[in-house]
Each structure stands twice: as C-alpha cells, then as structure tokens.
Amino acid sequence: MTVARVAVVDYGAGNLVSIEQALTAAGALVHRALDASQIADADLLVVPGVGAAAPAMDRLRAAGFVEAIREWIAADRPYLGICLGLQLLFEGSDEDGAETLAVLPGRTVRLAAAPTLPHIGWNQVERRAEHGAFTGIAADADFYFVHSYVGEPGPAAADAILAETEHGTRFTSAVARGNLLGVQFHPERSGADGLRLVANVVALAARTATGSAA
C-alpha cells in the first residue's frame, strides 16, 4: 500500500508535536505546511489548532490557505480537522463573530449549558453512524476534549453528524462527509484509541491515493 503523505497546516496555533508524532507512528510521511503551496502533493490534509476563530482565519488567509482548503474539500480530498480545524469548517463562530470556511452549513456556538466550562477532560464519543476512522474503537470510547465552543451542523448538514457527546447538553463531537472528517476531541492526546483513529484515517487516505492513481 502507498505510504500516505500528510500535510499538517502550521498557522501558529500551538502544539503540533503530538499530532505529527501520532501520524508518524501510523506510518505516514509528515510535513508541516507553512503556506498553501506546500499541500499540493499531500494525500491527507490535517488542520489542528486550538483557540479563537478570528486570529486563526487571519493567519490562514495570510498564508493562502482559505481558498486552498475550500478547493481541497470541494474536490473531496481526505481532510482531518481537529478541534478548531473542525469548527472552522462551518459558516461562522459566535466566539468572536468571525466568518469561517463555510464548507459545512452550521455555526460554532458556545457550550452554554455546560456544568463546567471549558469542557476539559476525557468524555465519551457516542457514534451515530459507522465510519472507517473508528474501526476497532468502541461505540462510546473516551477521548480527550479541551474547548468551550462547538461546531453545530445546521439542518442541511444533519447527514454529516458522526458522533455526539454529552456535557450539560448533547453536542456534535465528530462529523464526516465523503473524505472529510472533523473531530472536536484530540485524538493525538487520547491514548490508544486516539492513535488507532489517526492510524485509520492515514490508512483511508492511503487507500484513496492508491485508488485515484490506479
């Protein structure tokens, strides 16, 4: 099978060491992309990140990533968005009013009913559909969360809801559509199940790459 080439978008949003290491452990060839020219030949695009939407969008725009990510997803190329990398897929964020990538209908909203906020720690990810990314992982496995806002799919994206999690209210903790996957939790900080998820995503991307080359 092809070795998956993975581009991790580096826009100054904190820790990239963990996700790079998790991808490397899964057998991927990983590089950091500092601008949009550095993602062209990748088989999988990973957008990590924590923090607020507006500064993240500013930095993505400055490096040419905004259009590049939209085109990438429009072409149904493999994408993994983690935390902010999921939230940015929606149309806008209540956190700071930022307009985001708008590749999925819906908004990023505050977890208003949460008993503790930020929502920090391990919580159950309850799957609503089957997906290759979760192969070998229990249907309500624990993953690590650290966030105050969540991307909520609008009615036109209800089909994309892959998993939900409860913290005062039930929110969408994973979305999938075609080769796009977004997770609110941090697989790179979620122990064995997190590493398994990353490895599954890398394997799916390698298969997609092999398929399109054939």
């Binding site: 949003a13 290491q21 720690g121 690590y144 064995a192």
Partner: protein, 265 residues
C-alpha cells in the same frame, strides 16, 4: 459523561524529576519522559510538569524534555513554572505542551492571563494558586485563605478565593489549587479550600497538596467540588497507584476513564 481526572505531577529541575517537600530535601526521582510514559501507561489522564527552578538558563533543557515527552506519551501535558510572557507560552506549546500553568508571575502581572488567553484560548491557560490558611479574618482575607507566591514562601496579601474569581474573569480556563499547608504532609487535601473556590467559579478546579490515600481523591471531588486530582509523591513512591486511585473513585460513584494499557509507541 465527563470523567474525573487523575493527574501525576512531575517536579523538574536540571532535566530530572525531583521530589521532596516542595523545594526542600530534593531527591532525584528519574528521567521526566520515561516517568511520564510510565504514568501514561498506568492510566494517567493528564500529566503536569512543574519547572521548580524556572531559571531562564535552564529553559532549553525544559523544552527538550517537553518535546521528548510529547513524542512518547499520548496524553495531555501541562507545563508550569517560568512562563513570563506570551512568547514563553508559545515556546512551551510549540515544544508539545497543551496547556501552561501561570502562578507567581500572574499575581504580579494579572493581565498576563488575559494576553495568553487572547492568543491561545482560555482552555490553554491554567492559573495555579498556592494558598495557606490564616487565622481569623486577618488583613482583609475574608475566606481565611491567603495566596502565597515564590513556591509557597512569600505571602501575596491577597485572598485566595477573591484571586480565583478574578483569575477566571481575566481568562483562566482552569485553576490548579494547591494547599501549601498540606503539600508534602500526607494529611489529605484541604477540602474546605477546594469547596470555597470551586463553588464560585465555573472552570474546572484541580485539587493539589496532601494526597495520601485513595479516599483523599474521592473527598477532593465529592466534597471539595474538584474536577481533577493531582499528586506527586504518593505516585512517585508507589504508595498509591493510579489504578487504585481510580478504583476508589469508581467505587464512590465518580465517573473515571478505564486504565488504558497501550498509550505509548
């Protein structure tokens, strides 16, 4: 349901884990990445590194340790000690930490909390509060707990509960509350201190200082309102295992994450 967390704390000095009653009688307790990996394997929900020297000249060593740890242990890592600016925070996060702890510096410059939260989000900013009990309603300290800084040596003249509330208003996403009276004494957490703080803030509170028995972890959460429990010595000396702490918590009806046996590569 959100799990209650068990967090081993590694005090780091000169590239090694040290143990002792805070800053006194330090004894070498091992290699930080190796010990971190062991705790991750044993079921730690998170890890905390505390740079107890926090000297600028030792910073490169600390950042190397953080990176080595992030490459070996796939659980979240908080690094405290020595963060004086947004740039310091950026360096620690880039090395592989997920959160930073601010303590003495935040007391001297509370706006540092706001600047760090604006850049990296509140969820990455842990304000560590060291507190000790004072007698009576002395010197405008209504809760009876005073903030102490510089590793617990110097009184800051601030009420610990007032400071907790203010730190959250400024942007702290989590509070690490250490009882200096209990730290290293093995007499249990200061439950009234935890309850006083957790009842006035919505952010998660991590209990620290005094853990000795598995039952202590239960009372910090059930009676103190803590979201997570932190300990150093009892884990390093293997007097209590993470599994034993979690078993006691589960038996008391608290939600915990099952111990995960393969979290390292």
């Amino acid at each position: 349901m959100l799990r209650r967390r068990v967090i081993p704390c590694l005090d780091v000095a000169g590239g090694r884990v040290v143990k002792g009653t805070r800053f006194l009688d330090l004894v070498d307790a091992g290699d930080p990445p190796e010990l971190a990996e062991r705790y991750a394997r044993e079921g730690a929900d998170e890890l905390v590194f505390l740079d107890i020297t926090a000297a600028p000249e030792g910073r490169g060593t600390l950042l190397r340790i953080v990176e080595q740890t992030a490459r070996r242990a796939f659980v979240p890592l908080t690094v405290g000690g020595g963060v004086r600016s947004v740039e310091d925070m950026r360096d620690v996060l880039r090395a592989g930490a997920d959160k930073v702890g601010l303590n003495t510096r935040a007391v001297a410059d509370p706006e540092l909390i706001t600047r760090c939260a604006a850049r990296f989000g509140s969820q990455a900013v842990v304000v560590a509060i060291d507190a000790r009990r004072v007698s009576g309603e002395a010197r405008g300290l209504p809760s009876g707990y005073e903030v102490v800084v510089n590793g617990g040596r110097d009184p800051a003249g601030m009420d610990a509960v007032v400071w907790a509330r203010r730190a959250v208003e400024l942007g702290a996403g989590e509070l690490l509350v250490t009882s200096i009276d209990r730290d290293g004494t093995k007499t249990g957490f200061d439950v009234p201190l935890l309850a006083a703080i957790s009842s006035v803030v919505r952010v998660p509170v991590i209990a620290s200082g005094g853990a000795a028995r598995p039952a202590d972890f239960v009372s910090a959460i059930r009676d103190g309102g803590a979201d997570a429990v932190l300990a150093a010595g009892v884990f390093h000396r293997r007097e209590v295992s993470i599994a034993e702490a979690k078993a006691a918590m589960a038996a008391a009806g608290l939600p915990v994450r099952a111990v995960d046996r393969a979290v390292v590569v």
